[in-house]
């Protein structure tokens, strides 16, 4: 299919790059071994099996997998000049962006699910009689959703920034969004308590509403995933969470596509 959205050859080459790149492979293997070790050790330290997924359990497994594979996923190609030869081929630029995103999402999800499997095996060994249940499935879905969402965020940063700076940009973005969330949480102390100066209160009146508005969108771009924890309590789906997730994912990819479409890939432009 010449005009397909996902380019099969490019997808294959992206996966092969992770498998055969002599520089990248050792870093990835070491990083992944660390995650496996961490998963086994954390299971042996708890006194009872953990059923429900928490944000931490999802984030600390999905984010490193995406970061390992997605650092410089587009920026490296832009900086090295590979794109000029690639774009001389009959490939749409949006196809390039979406193929890289899908490859990153699928590869990181696979790593993440293998990690979950190892955790489950370690859990069954530590707590005989405990078997994977519906919560395990929810964990798997949450981790995969974070891999797909975070891959879109990494793709967006990588299309804008050169080389491997997308990782640093994402870390800074996470840090800033966390600060904004913390400021939004300070509302009762800054606005409604008797402590603090008048100036602080006035400043709080101005800043806190803005932070409250920005907190959720920023967090859902920095840590995009579908939180299924509500399923443990109710049977209904939170459509708001689902729509927020997909709209942020689409927005990130859209920004990446627009940036790539506007990019001049000849080294004459440098």
């Amino acid at each position: 299919m010449k005009d397909s959205v996902i380019n099969k050859a490019l997808f294959k080459a992206t996966i092969e790059e992770w498998r055969y790149n002599p520089v990248f492979l050792p870093i990835m293997v070491l990083g992944y071994l660390y995650l496996i070790g961490f998963a086994i050790i954390s299971v042996s330290f708890v006194s009872a099996p953990i059923h429900e997924a928490t944000f931490s359990s999802v984030f600390y497994t999905a984010a490193p997998c995406v970061a390992l594979l997605g650092t410089g996923i587009i920026g490296q190609n832009v900086s090295s000049g590979i794109l000029s030869v690639l774009f001389a081929r009959p490939i749409r630029r949006y196809s390039y962006v979406l193929t890289r995103w899908l490859a990153l999402s699928v590869a990181s999800s696979t790593l993440c699910l293998i990690l979950l499997l190892i955790e489950q095996v370690a859990g069954m060994a530590a707590f005989p009689g405990v078997v994977p249940d519906f919560n395990t499935l929810c964990q798997a879905v949450e981790r995969v959703s974070m891999c797909f969402g975070l891959s879109a965020t990494f793709i967006m940063f990588s299309s804008v920034l050169p080389s491997a700076i997308n990782l640093s940009a994402w870390i800074v973005f996470c840090f800033v969004s966390n600060i904004i969330v913390e400021i939004a949480h300070m509302e009762p102390y800054l606005l409604h308590s008797s402590y603090g100066s008048e100036l602080g209160r006035k400043l709080g009146e101005f800043v806190i509403p803005i932070c409250k508005e920005m907190a959720l969108p920023l967090q859902s771009i920095a840590f995009p995933y579908i939180d299924l924890s509500f399923l443990a309590h109710t049977a209904s789906i939170s459509w708001f969470a689902v729509f927020t997730y997909f709209s942020n994912l689409s927005l990130s990819l859209l920004i990446a596509i627009i940036v790539m479409n506007r990019k001049e890939v000849s080294y004459a432009s440098k």
Binding site: Y20, G81, I82, F87, A88, P90, S266, A268
Partner: protein
């Protein structure tokens, strides 16, 4: 076996069976070829520099550049560094957006997919995924060009053979390759998909003399089969031997357009070498008189070698005729400068 003999596959077999006349082009035949119409391109300094107040001036890379490249011809693009050649190449391939003007390849903009299917491109600084082998790299581009899977293996091997890459190197990672070997792999990549238009940016850069001859032979074969070739190169002899026409670019403008197929008629320098026989050797004055007679000029006489400046082909013919008729012991006549060098000599002057 010499480097020239090395290619086991005729480059001509890399082309489609159809001649350029068979191209499926919308509209009439006048659309065939490349039409560059009044293209201008300026590079603005990054906003960061402007905000920081640094004196980064905008660079005018192309100024109302117009050129028609006929389908099937080989066009050379020459010019000093910073003349706008690479920018022109970038615009031709759709990598750069001209500020004004238009470029049409077979009546379509260079960015359109049907055009990408019929072009091949070898950049000057081709960067590779270093982990890939030469075979994998060319296979990857064969896949990207949507070439048939059943002939993939054979076609990739044919291409690597055609560019003269040693078959022992095919399965080694390109990260260990020399510049010349990389350039051969790059050329094989450019020829994937049997392109109708081939854009080459310094194709023989860093290639050993044997490789230069080998690449030249490949390009000559392709040209003979009707491929349109655009070469941007500083190697003037290479350009002269392959191209039909040459565009001299300077300051973003088309300064001159030279037809190399036409009978050569331009002022140039030649050296006449005589047999080392003092008894038959003409005097300096005799050679000066002879030069004046055929509207030429004796530049210097150095033992048995006389350097002349001739105005055109007729003058050269007359000079040789006179030298022979006077029974001077002429051994050989050697051109002293490449035809295209004069552009740069004038530039330096």
């Amino acid at each position: 076996m010499s480097q020239i003999d090395a290619p086991g596959v005729e480059a001509s077999t890399l082309l489609t069976d159809s001649s350029p006349m068979d191209l499926n082009i919308p509209g009439d035949n006048r659309l065939r070829g490349i039409k560059i119409d009044c293209v201008s391109k300026t590079f603005n300094p990054p906003k960061l520099y402007v905000k920081a107040g640094q004196s980064k001036h905008k660079v005018v890379a192309l100024k109302e550049f117009s050129l028609d490249i006929v389908a099937g011809e080989a066009m050379g693009i020459i010019g000093p560094n910073g003349a706008g050649k690479t920018t022109l190449m970038g615009c031709l391939l759709g990598f750069l957006r001209p500020d004004s003007g238009s470029i049409l390849i077979d009546g379509l903009p260079p960015n359109s997919l049907p055009i990408k299917e019929i072009i091949g491109y070898l950049p000057e600084r081709l960067n590779f995924d270093n982990w890939m082998t030469a075979r994998r790299f060319v296979t990857h581009h064969h896949e990207l060009a949507y070439q048939p899977e059943n002939t993939r293996e054979q076609e990739v091997e044919d291409l690597l053979t055609a560019v003269g890459l040693d078959s022992k190197k095919w399965d080694l990672p390109v990260g260990n390759f020399s510049r010349g070997m990389l350039q051969r792999v790059g050329l094989a990549q450019a020829l994937v998909g049997k392109p109708k238009y081939l854009f080459l940016d310094e194709p023989a850069s860093g290639v050993d003399p044997g490789g230069v001859l080998s690449i030249r032979q490949v390009l000559k074969d392709l040209k003979a089969k009707g491929m349109t070739i655009v070469i941007n190169s500083h190697q003037l002899d290479q350009v002269e031997k392959i191209c039909d026409r040459v565009a001299f670019v300077k300051g973003g403008r088309l300064e001159a357009l030279e037809d190399l197929v036409e009978t050569q008629s331009h002022k140039r320098e030649i050296a006449v070498k005589f047999v080392s026989d003092l008894n038959r050797m003409p005097s300096k004055e005799a050679l000066q008189d002879l030069a004046i007679e055929c509207q030429s000029q004796l530049i210097e006489l150095n033992y048995f070698v006389a350097h002349f400046s001739v105005n055109n082909n007729d003058a050269l013919c007359q000079l040789i005729k006179l030298l022979v008729s006077k029974d001077y012991p002429v051994l050989e006549v050697i051109p002293q400068s490449n035809r295209l060098e004069r552009y740069f000599k004038e530039e330096n002057a």
